[in-house]
């Protein structure tokens, strides 16, 4: 039985979070009525000219800096010429020969706890096309040009990945970088990130690559893994049956979980690339690049290291909490509000994540804000409430109680009377009452061997806590009970 090695390269298209399009002032917001966000430039009307969006340039450079890539001084936009109804000008403005970001690398985490560097060949800026709508037009095709001209950063990897898992990890790493940088919302469901996957197989040990198939437009982490798994199996089977892989473009169908060859003439297209005469070469001076470098936000790797080293979190906790910028930002806000990183980590990864998972919510949509959770934890730390009451307060905050302000926990504690009772006199009074009401249990306690009494005290603690509606300080209750019961023996 031949052993096979999988070789994977990814072209990831990231929609940049600019307010306006890459070459026009029209909005890039998602979900508007068809063709309401397409201006004269996006429509490719006669006479219009493109003007490069500086924000898109800055974002591309930030990405390049984040992956330690070369940033060439000069990059050039080219026209990629082909006819299609959702391509209004008859050409796509892209960067064929002189991309804005040169070679760099991305580190991915492997299942065995190790890491691997995936080389990025380059990343270039280009404009997105519009959308062809084939439904609802009675055999005709509708064109929506809202998306036309949306800025894309296409990140092209080297064929460095050797498994579907590595490919998914790479995609996640890219996702994490672009969302950390704030240059994309990374929303894969809305198409803000999608990728083309190049897959080939070769006998283990063979130096040259096998013939690759390109799976177009895969738009989720899960689909990337599944599409590759299917494709690898297909190719191996094909070769082992004496066939050969043909270089082609394929489509992944998530419903049938398979890839299919696309009937397309695209392969035969000659795009007649040439430099776009309407746009000047982009010249980046060193001071500009330095300024962007100096102002880069903390990136996932750096954050994970800091969480471990400065905050004393475990490697696992630091990894989970730095996985997305939203998670990290939330955690850090909780930590700042309560002053205790470990408690903040426990709550965010425990109670909060549990509740979010149950309701299928992202952390950005948490009904409990970081400030509220931080205040709640602070109230545990300063002994205002005990741990049991804290869970009650959290549930109340989750349900929207407490008025929604940062100090909502205080309002809930007040309203529900959950404030921990630490007044010795009050606790003693409750203990005396419980002892008086439980003559049988007291008798049992008295008759028991002294080393068994420790277990029996639990009953009395429960009764006292119940009497205090959970607010009595459990340590105090324990100590006082022991004292009083032992006095009776």
């Amino acid at each position: 039985m031949m052993e096979w090695e999988t070789v994977i390269g990814l072209e990831v298209h990231v929609q940049l979070a600019t307010k306006s399009k890459i070459f026009s002032g029209a909005s890039t917001a998602f979900g508007a009525e068809p063709n309401t966000q397409a201006c004269a430039v996006d429509l490719g009307l006669p006479g219009v000219l493109p003007v490069l969006n500086e924000q898109a340039v800055a974002m591309a450079v930030q990405f390049g800096l984040a992956i330690h890539a070369e940033i060439p001084e000069v990059s050039v936009f080219d026209r990629k010429n082909y006819f299609y109804p959702d391509l209004p000008k008859g050409y796509q403005t892209s960067q064929m020969y002189h991309p804005i970001v040169g070679a760099g690398e991305v580190e991915i985490a492997l299942d065995d706890g190790g890491t691997k560097r995936i080389r990025v060949h380059h990343a270039h800026l280009e404009e997105d096309a519009g959308k062809s709508l084939h439904e609802d037009f009675h055999g005709m095709t509708g064109i929506d040009l809202n998306r036309a001209g949306t800025p894309l950063l296409e990140i092209v990897s080297e064929p460095d990945m050797r498994s579907a898992k590595e490919a998914a990890a790479y995609l996640k790493a890219i996702h994490s970088i672009v969302t950390y940088l704030g240059i994309s919302d990374g929303n894969m469901a809305e198409g803000s990130m999608r990728c083309d996957v190049n897959v080939s197989v070769r006998p283990k040990g063979q130096a040259e690559f096998g013939t690759r198939a390109e799976i177009k437009n895969v738009n989720s982490f899960r689909f990337v893994e599944r599409a590759i798994a299917y494709e690898v199996e297909r190719q191996i089977e094909l070769i082992e049956d004496g066939g050969r892989v043909v270089q082609e473009t394929r489509l992944y169908d998530p419903e049938r979980d398979e890839t299919r060859g696309m009937r397309t003439k695209e392969e035969a297209n000659d795009y007649r690339y040439f430099p776009c005469p309407d746009l000047l070469p982009v010249v980046l001076d060193q001071a500009y690049v330095d300024h962007l470098r100096d102002n880069l936000p903390e990136l996932p790797d750096e954050k994970r290291t800091r969480f471990q080293e400065a905050l004393g979190l475990s490697a696992y906790d630091a990894g989970v909490l730095s996985a997305s910028r939203a998670m990290a930002d939330y955690f850090e806000a909780v930590k700042d509000a309560c002053g205790d990183a470990k408690q903040a980590a426990n709550w965010v990864m425990g109670e909060l994540s549990g509740a979010l998972n149950r309701e299928g919510l992202a952390i950005e949509d948490s009904p409990v804000s970081a400030a509220q959770l931080g205040r709640l934890i602070a109230r545990v730390l300063d002994d205002t409430i005990n741990g049991k009451a804290a869970k009650q307060v959290f549930q109340a905050l989750w349900n929207g109680e407490g008025g929604g302000q940062a100090d909502a926990a205080d309002a809930v504690i007040e309203a529900k009377g959950l404030k921990q009772v630490t007044d010795t006199g009050a606790i003693e009074a409750m203990i005396d009452q419980v002892i008086a009401d439980s003559p049988a249990q007291v008798a049992q306690y008295r008759d028991a061997e002294p080393d068994k009494r420790g277990k029996m005290i639990g009953y009395f603690v429960g009764q006292v806590m119940k009497a205090s509606r959970g607010t009595a300080n459990p340590q105090q209750v324990n100590a006082l009970l022991k004292e009083k019961l032992d006095a009776l023996c």
Binding site: L45, P46, L49, N81, F83, Y273, F274, D278
Partner: protein
Amino acid sequence: MHDKTLRELAASLEAGEFSSRELTQALLGRIDRLDGELNSFISVTADQALAAADAADAARGRGEAGPLTGLPLALKDIFCTRGVKTSCGSKMLDNFEAPYDATLVEKLQAAGTVSLGKTNMDEFAMGSSNENSFYGPVKNPWDLGAVPGGSSGGSAAAVAAGLVPAALGTDTGGSIRQPAAFCGITGLKPTYGRVSRYGMIAYASSLDQAGPMARTAADCALLLGAIAGHDVRDSTSVARGVPDYTATLDDSLSGLKIGLPKEYFGEGLDPAVAEAVQAAIKVYESLGATVREVSLPHTHLAIPAYYVIAPAEASSNLSRFDGVRFGHRCEDPSDLIDLYKRSRAEGFGEEVKRRILIGTHTLSEGFFDAYYTKAQQVRRLIRQDFLDAFEEVDVLMGPASPTPAFDLGANKDPVSMYLQDIYTIAINLAGIPGISVPAGFVGKRPVGLQILGSHFAEAQLLNVAHQFQQASDWHLRRPDFAKETA
């Protein structure tokens, strides 16, 4: 009043001799009577013109008139105008009304000018005779059997015939200067980047440049001041101050160093044209200029380089005319490919198709380096020729065209037509400014003297041209056609 220059008309309006409405009406009347024969306009916008004239008169009444307020002109039909058809001389855009105004149009409106309409042109500015228009050829007012030149032939003929005192044209390989020469008027192609291209339908983006066409250099100076300047909507427009081009018109030419490129006086030049140009140079000598021969050694490569670069850009620029969103669409397309093929086959004329085919071919895989890359290298050499020449001299002079206007229908062979642009094309490749001024006649047909300057030397060119017009009267001659007895 149709014989007056913009400057004279401005003075008359200011003196109250007549109103802008009266002037506009008079010219609309001439267009009505004369343009049936000439065919220089594609669209005459009488209603909008009269409204603009009234607004100009009202502004003058309020004391808010500027130097161009109320002055009539015409726009080549390549400039997008809101609410008025912009055809670019093509069947493809016979049904097209732009939803916006070109920057140049906005600027002229803001200056208070009155557009009388849109002038005829070679389809998509591809041509040197104005015979490539979907709307039919334009005649030369000096000789109705001759072409007016192209591609801004309608603008040139309208000015020469006294239908309008000035017009705007565009110049990609000579399309302002050659028709100006053929029609005996003054036409300036500014430095590439001097005037915004936003809203000007692109032929070859790296070569296209708009400019003024008028009776005198002084009028061109007035108009250039109104249309020049940086435009945030055109990345290739240059952020550089706009001088008052009229302020230096009267500067002395004493000590001016004129270079005569020997390549512009060689084989193929009509001896009568050469004679007229030499006579003009003598005038300059009498004004205190010195003359020497210079060389532009790569001149012979200009036409081949141009006919690679311009069609390459055009083939891409004209892809948007696909019948999908605007412009001509064929009847009952059977599918998408049929829609594309028939809409474009029906909408474009011969010459446009020829250049799209040339450009598509030269950009193709396997040919790109041999054609496009090589042509760009040649382009750099040609530019360097000019930079070297301007180290030695202030301006270059020569004929604008090797012959005077030729007969309608005389140049059936495309290559012989392309060769007409031998003296104008290199200027676009180099990006420098050039002006053509009337310098005599061969028979009934005018001859143009071309003056070239270094990048952004428009003020100098206009000064040099104006001084010639102070010492000559060729620009004051009017064709018989214009002398109607009304």
